[in-house]
Structure formats: structure tokens, C-alpha cells
């Protein structure tokens, strides 16, 4: 056996979760390590709950077993809690604090729980890092870079078995030239948000 790193990325379809998982996979290849990524395509992309996994090192498949995630990266608070089965006490949960209200709540069929209670429950299971990824992305110049903010936060949280420069460089290699600066700012914003914790 050898070292394994398992990362779960969750959020809402359309928030860049799949893109973030793909970039993380590419960065791992660039760091000359073995990797499998699982993605969800199709129906769930229409505003549904989305989860992707990235597994690095001595792994044979892309799916993560219960309680064995090293990090859970979420673009939305309840989506982090929805996938709490992957967490253990040492898991780092990094989540954006901004809510995305599901239509089941908008139409009054269901209720969105008190977000502080969501954070408390996350904290009771794992190490919680809350960041205002939306605000950081806005300041960087584009709200669609929220996923990049979260990748920056992941890079700063000591989970990845390779240098964060490799991840940043992979991001920059995969965006058009005119968006490089925005993405770099978003990534650095994510790094700083974790440093403050």
C-alpha cells in the first residue's frame, strides 16, 4: 500500500464543480502523480446537487469510501453537509458561506435550515473552514471564479501531495489569456482566506 489522498468536491450544477475537479486532476498529472476523477454529467447539471471526487496516489478507482475524504470542498453550505458521510474527524471541510436556495425551498415545499446550525453540525464532524468565496471571486473580477477561490483554499490547506504552484500553473494554462489575471487573484484570495483561519 502507499499514500492515498481523497478529495470530494460538491455544490450545485452550474457552479463550476466539475471544472474544478478536472483542473485538480490535470494538476495531479502535471505533478507526475497517479489520479482518478469522477464526475457527474447530464441531468444533475441542471441546478441539481453535484458531487465529484478526486483520488490521488495508490488508488484503483475514482470513488471515495465513507469516512475517508481528506478534504471536502463545497460551493454551498448544505451541499457540504449533504456529503458528510465522506468525512472523518481529520477531514478538512472548506465551504463557501453563500447560500443557493433550491427550488424546493423557493416554492415552499421544504425549508432551508438555519445556516449557523449547518456550520455547527459540520464542525461536530470535521475541521471546518468557512470562506466567503463569492465575495473573493467578485473582488477578483468575476463571480464564476468562485471554484478557483476554493481550489486556492484547498492548496493552502496542506491536503494536496504536491506543490500549490503546480495547481495554480495548471489553472492558468487552462484559461484564456485575458482571464489569467482574474483567476490568479481568485486563487490567491482563496489561499489568503485559509491563512487567516
Amino acid at each position: 500500500m502507499g499514500e492515498k489522498t481523497s478529495i470530494v468536491l460538491t455544490g450545485v450544477g452550474g457552479q463550476g464543480v466539475i471544472t474544478a475537479a478536472n483542473i485538480l486532476g490535470k494538476a495531479t498529472i502535471n505533478a507526475k502523480k497517479h489520479v482518478y476523477v469522477s464526475e457527474i454529467h447530464g441531468m444533475a447539471q441542471r441546478g441539481g446537487s453535484v458531487s465529484c471526487t478526486v483520488r490521488i496516489g495508490n488508488v484503483f478507482g475514482s470513488l471515495v469510501a465513507n469516512g475517508s475524504a481528506d478534504a471536502i470542498l463545497s460551493t454551498e453550505p448544505i451541499e457540504a453537509l449533504r456529503y458528510i458521510k465522506y468525512a472523518n474527524k481529520k477531514t478538512k471541510i472548506i465551504t463557501d458561506i453563500n447560500l443557493m436556495i433550491p427550488f424546493t425551498v423557493s416554492v415552499g415545499m421544504e425549508t432551508y435550515p438555519d445556516v449557523e446550525k449547518v456550520f455547527n453540525e459540520l464542525k461536530s464532524h470535521a475541521e471546518l473552514y468557512k470562506i466567503d468565496a463569492l465575495e473573493i471571486a467578485k473582488n477578483a473580477g468575476a463571480i464564476i471564479t468562485k471554484n478557483i477561490v476554493l481550489l486556492g483554499a484547498l492548496a493552502a490547506s496542506d491536503v494536496l501531495p504536491f506543490k500549490s504552484e503546480v495547481l495554480l500553473q495548471t489553472i492558468l494554462d487552462n484559461v484564456p489569456p485575458k482571464f489569467k489575471e482574474i483567476n490568479k487573484k481568485a486563487f490567491d484570495g482563496g489561499v489568503k482566506a485559509i491563512m487567516k483561519h
Binding site: I40, H41, A44, G47, G61, A65, N66, G67, V105, V107
Partner: protein, 625 residues
């Protein structure tokens, strides 16, 4: 473009589906066809992206690719290319093979010439499907040699080598994948692509016309070829006993992605077994299977869905007078339902081997979380059509629906999907309901679905004068599977200009007298049109035409124009809640004080809410996007 421009021997990260495309390119594929369907879509989309990329660069792609009208046409097209000696590939989702099964079953009798790989992307757990059928049965049913990859790397190699096996056996090959392979990314080592033939030549041969005498002569040929395939299976590098010399009398037999879970579980549980990993699952490598059976007292079969390996293993054990114990689905250890996970496989193996499962028990959130099912996007023109049709309908109206984004109209508050079976089923069921009941019927299908299989039931409606309203939600694309073109679009899968076929022209040509075209974004007029269609005695077709908002907004952004955002004037809003509890646009939400707002992050700027608000409380936000 990494997938075609990386040097051979380089390792790149590819999606399982992209790896299949790359494998076909390395085998020198000439013709690739499909009808899009999750989880298969990116195989074909990758051909499409490559063709368009090369066209832009002024290069000619080395292959011909098309999004065919449906899976049956796709398979017929590629089979013909194979008869002309070219290497062909056809990909589809599992239920697509039902559509193409008429071709498939007889194609195996006739046999192919150029290598032909047929990919069936199965969807255990129904992530994006109406059932979770196990298409390995099609391999057994039609006697098609069947391969099942476990990783993207293996998917690429199996695709490449399947062309060779196909040519050796003169049979098309079924490459059966599952969602967790199609949508898994992994490292793939590239090889040098073979040069395609370009053009073939059709040699006439009376044995290519399976009249009864030919079919009777061809059936034994097929059985002989499958016997020959057994030899290939026995020698295949994709079939192997791992740790065959381990001093153990327990074996695990597994295929597809289940192998990955087994492989990690034996490390995590520290158990002593040998594994028979089967990549070519039809015909089974009989000698290898017998070798395992003879060396084991206990065999555990790990395969998702149907007990296909399990039943065959029991038969082989019987033939060998073996009393080996076989654990699997029939012993209640594994389920025939849904996809497997590392937890399921590790859990079952820990019980069988009586060792501790290292993974924690499933923790459930204590707080009750609201569900987040997929929904029609904010700004989706289908929402406007549904709202109008519902307004026009008397109580008790039945809404048969079809496969595509519009199944999402099932959700409250619209609840505009009452019955669904398969592609094109809306209109056939509309006709049946019109005869079986006195209820009013309005059915719905998309434009791509109309061309795929929606036309024959309309002919039925015209010929028998069934009193139905059939709606074609014409958003100018195949939206749900990733915006692929179809016969109604002005370009094809290779990015070339194509003849656009208008839905209304086809319908008129079928003899429908009451054909109406409407822009659903005019809700009042569309409601009126549905009322008229309901009043018409006999079949009516409403073509509700407006492009997918995602494509429209993408085009607007590209052109540099801004997408408006709408806001609610809180002084004018009377809290009637029609925008939320009637229209159901996901961009609307209640604030803590129960006032209603529009989420700027979600609003796609269609403005249809302005039309439904009786108090003129909604308007464009000043100052742009």
C-alpha cells in the same frame, strides 16, 4: 488540442469517454455515428470537437462523424461503412441500443467487414436514465463479443483492440461501459494513430441479404464465430488471474468498475484471494474460468446489476462436476440493484471473510436538508410553454411527456409530466389515451426527440384522426445531453452547414391540418393557441419555438451584449406568489421577512415573469447585468 496533438507515449488525463474516442483514432477509425445520450455523449462530442477544431485550422479530419437521426440510423449507417471495408464506431446510451436492436440482432448474423465497435453506455443507479437495464444481456442475446473496461486507460486500449477482434471474427463488438467509467478521468498513455482508409468499396455478395435461406445459413456461422471468440477470450490480455500462485482456495471474479473496488478492498481488508479479472465478458474465457474453479473451494462474484457472470460460472462449475461454493447475488450477498461503491464491496467482502470493515458507518446529517433535484433552468422557454398550456387546459387534462429537459416539468409547481416510457412515447401514448378516456390530452416532446422517433405516432394520429394536442418544444438543440445539433439545426456535428428541417413543414407534410407555431415567450398568445388546439376535433400540433436560453445567452455574451436582470418592486408586489407557486422560476426566492426577490446570480433575463405578474411589480434592473 491535447487529445490529438500530444506526442505518442505521452500520458494525459482523459475522461473515459474521451479515451474511447482516442482509442478509435489510434485504430484508424473512418466513420463514427451516434445519437447523443448520457452517459455516452462525450464519446461523440469529442469527435465533433476534433472535427470542428481541424476545420477551423483549415485541416481535414481523418474521419467522418455524424449525429444521426436516432440510434437505429446511426448503427445502420456505420454498418454500411463496415460492409464497404471501413473501420466504424457507433456509440449510444444503454436504452439507445433498444432502438438500434432491430439492426443489432440481424447485423450479427450478416457479420461485418471493416472493424465495427458498438459502445453501449449503461447507467446503473439511473443517474440520467429511465431504467438501469444491463446491456451485457445484449451481448448474450445477439451473440456479440463483449468487452468491459475498468479504467480510461483500459477503455482506450479495449476500443483500439476491439477493431482488430472485430475484423478477425467478422463480427461487430459490443463495448459495454457504465457511468463510472464514462465519467471517470484517469491517466491514459497515447499510442501512434493508424492512418484511416478514407474510402472503401462495396463488394456485392448475396450473403449480405438475409432472406430466410441466407439467415438459416448464417446462424451456424455466427455460432462458430462465437466459439472462435472463446479462444480469443482465453488468450486476451484483458482476462487474467491476478495472484494466481497465491496459496489460497478463495477466488473473486469481477469485471468493469467493480474490479477497482475489489482491488482496493483486498488491500484495505488485508485478505488473501486471487482475482479473475474479466475484461472480455462474452464469450467468457472458459479455460481461465475452469482453472479458477478447479483451484478454489469458494468463489465470490462481484458484478453490478444482473448475475450474468454468476449464472455462467454456475453452469461451468456444473459442467466440471465441481462443488465449489459460489457467492454472489443468489446467496443474497450482493444486490441486483444500483451501482456498487467501495463501501458496498468492502462491506460485503468483510462479512464473507469475517474481518473488520475499516470504513466508518454511514453518517447521516442530523439537520433535515432540503432536496435539490435538477430543475428547468431560469429562463427556460419550456416553462413558459408549460405555464400557457396549463392555463389553457380544463381540469383532468393528461400530459404525456418525453425524454429530454422537459421531463423536469414534472416538478411542482408546473407538474406538467404525467406519463413517460421512452424516446417518442409522448405522442403514441397521447393517441392511446384519447381513445381509452374522455380526458383532454396535451403531449410534449422536444425537437430532437421529434426527429428521433416522434414522427410515426403523429402519422398514427392523422390516419386515425385521434383527438390529441401534440406539442413540439422546439428549442433548436438537443439540450439535456449537451447541446448537440439535430436535423432541425443549420449545422452538423462536423461544424458544416446543414439543411435545417422545420418541424412544422414535416408535420404539415404528414397531413396534420391543425398546425400552429408559437413563441412561448408570448405567454398570452401561446395560451390562446393551446385553447384553439384543444377545441379542434382531431390531431393538432403546436410547435412552441424558442431557443434554449443557455445557448441564447452564450451567443449574446459572445456578441458583447448584456443580459438583463429583473427585479421586484417591493411596493408594488402584493405577495400573490404566482411567480413562485405558479410559474416556479428557480431564480425567485422568499427572503427571511417573506418578501419575494429575484436572485441575480440565477436570473437568465428571459423577462417572462413580467408577463405573469398582475401587479406590474417586475421590471428590468437599471444598470445592466
Amino acid at each position: 488540442m491535447e487529445i490529438i496533438e500530444s506526442r505518442p507515449e505521452k500520458t494525459i488525463l482523459l475522461l473515459g469517454n474521451e479515451a474511447i474516442t482516442r482509442g478509435a483514432l489510434e485504430a484508424g477509425v473512418d466513420v463514427a455515428t451516434t445519437y447523443p445520450g448520457t452517459p455516452s455523449s462525450e464519446i461523440a462530442d469529442t469527435f465533433s470537437i476534433i472535427a470542428k477544431y481541424l476545420k477551423k485550422k483549415g485541416d481535414k479530419p481523418s474521419f467522418y462523424f455524424e449525429y444521426s437521426t436516432n440510434e437505429k440510423v446511426a448503427l445502420e449507417f456505420a454498418a454500411a461503412a463496415s460492409f464497404a471495408g471501413l473501420r466504424s464506431l457507433t456509440c449510444m446510451k444503454h436504452v439507445g441500443l433498444n432502438v438500434a436492436s432491430d439492426v443489432f440482432m440481424t447485423y450479427l448474423y450478416v457479420g461485418c467487414k471493416g472493424g465495427h465497435v458498438i459502445i453501449s453506455a449503461d447507467d446503473p443507479s439511473c443517474h440520467s436514465s429511465q431504467n438501469e437495464q444491463d446491456n451485457r444481456y445484449f451481448g448474450l442475446f445477439g451473440n456479440a463479443p463483449t468487452l468491459e473496461p475498468t479504467t480510461p486507460q483500459e477503455a482506450k486500449e479495449m476500443t483500439r483492440i476491439s477493431f482488430e477482434i472485430s475484423e478477425e471474427l467478422k463480427l461487430p463488438i459490443l463495448l459495454r461501459t457504465t457511468t463510472r467509467l464514462n465519467h471517470a478521468r484517469g491517466p491514459v498513455k497515447l499510442l501512434n494513430p493508424r492512418k484511416p482508409k478514407g474510402k472503401g468499396y462495396f463488394e456485392k455478395d448475396p450473403m449480405l441479404v438475409p432472406v430466410p435461406s441466407v439467415a438459416r445459413a448464417k446462424h451456424p456461422v455466427l455460432l462458430k464465430a462465437i466459439k472462435q471468440a472463446e479462444k480469443i477470450s482465453d488468450e486476451s490480455p484483458f482476462n487474467e488471474i491476478i495472484d494466481s500462485n497465491k496459496p489460497t482456495t478463495t477466488g473473486i471474479v469481477t469485471s468493469g468498475v467493480s474490479f477497482n473496488y475489489v482491488r482496493e478492498a483486498i488491500d484495505d481488508l488485508n485478505i488473501n484471494v486471487k482475482i479473475l479479472k474479466i475484461g472480455m465478458t462474452h464469450p467468457l474465457p472458459r479455460k481461465l474460468c475452469e482453472k479458477l474453479i478447479k483451484s478454489c473451494k469458494k468463489i465470490i462474484i462481484v458484478e453490478e446489476l444482473e448475475p450474468i457472470l454468476e449464472n455462467q460460472f454456475k453452469a461451468i462449475a456444473y459442467d466440471n462436476r465441481s462443488d465449489v461454493e459460489i457467492y454472489g447475488k443468489s446467496t443474497g450477498h450482493f444486490s441486483r440493484l444500483y451501482e456498487y461503491t467501495p463501501d458496498i464491496v468492502t462491506g460485503v467482502l468483510s462479512k464473507i471473510f469475517d474481518v473488520k470493515n475499516p470504513f466508518s458507518k454511514h453518517i447521516e446529517p442530523k439537520l433535515k436538508l432540503p432536496s435539490r433535484p435538477p430543475a428547468l433552468c431560469p429562463g427556460c422557454p419550456h416553462r413558459a410553454t408549460y405555464f400557457a398550456a396549463k392555463k389553457a387546459s380544463p381540469k383532468g387534462t393528461v400530459y404525456p411527456t418525453d425524454i429530454g429537459c422537459y421531463t423536469l416539468g414534472k416538478a411542482p409547481p408546473l407538474e406538467m409530466a404525467d406519463l413517460l416510457l421512452c424516446m417518442g412515447s409522448n405522442a403514441g401514448m397521447a393517441c392511446g389515451l384519447a381513445v381509452a378516456t374522455d380526458q383532454k390530452i396535451i403531449s410534449f416532446m422536444g425537437d430532437s426527440t421529434f426527429f428521433h422517433s416522434g414522427i410515426p405516432p403523429i402519422i398514427d394520429a392523422v390516419h386515425h384522426n385521434h383527438d390529441v394536442v401534440i406539442t413540439v418544444l422546439d428549442n433548436r438543440t438537443t439540450a439535456m445531453t449537451g447541446h448537440q445539433p439535430h436535423p432541425g439545426t443549420e449545422y452538423d456535428g462536423m461544424g458544416r452547414p446543414a439543411k435545417s428541417i422545420k418541424v412544422e413543414d414535416v408535420v404539415k407534410g404528414l397531413g396534420v391540418e391543425d398546425v400552429k407555431v408559437t413563441d412561448p415567450n408570448n405567454i398570452k398568445k401561446t395560451t390562446e393557441i393551446f385553447k384553439q388546439a384543444l377545441d379542434f376535433k382531431g390531431p393538432s400540433v403546436v410547435v412552441s419555438k424558442s431557443p434554449c436560453i443557455l445557448l441564447e445567452n452564450r451567443a449574446k455574451r459572445k456578441a458583447g451584449s448584456t443580459i438583463p436582470v429583473y427585479v421586484i418592486d417591493q411596493e408594488k408586489c402584493k405577495q400573490c406568489k404566482l411567480c413562485i407557486s405558479g410559474f416556479g422560476c428557480p431564480a425567485f426566492y422568499f427572503a427571511d421577512d417573506d418578501s419575494i426577490h429575484i436572485d441575480e446570480q440565477q436570473c437568465n433575463g428571459c423577462g417572462n415573469c413580467v408577463q405573469i405578474c398582475a401587479f406590474e411589480a417586475i421590471s428590468v434592473k437599471k444598470g445592466g447585468e
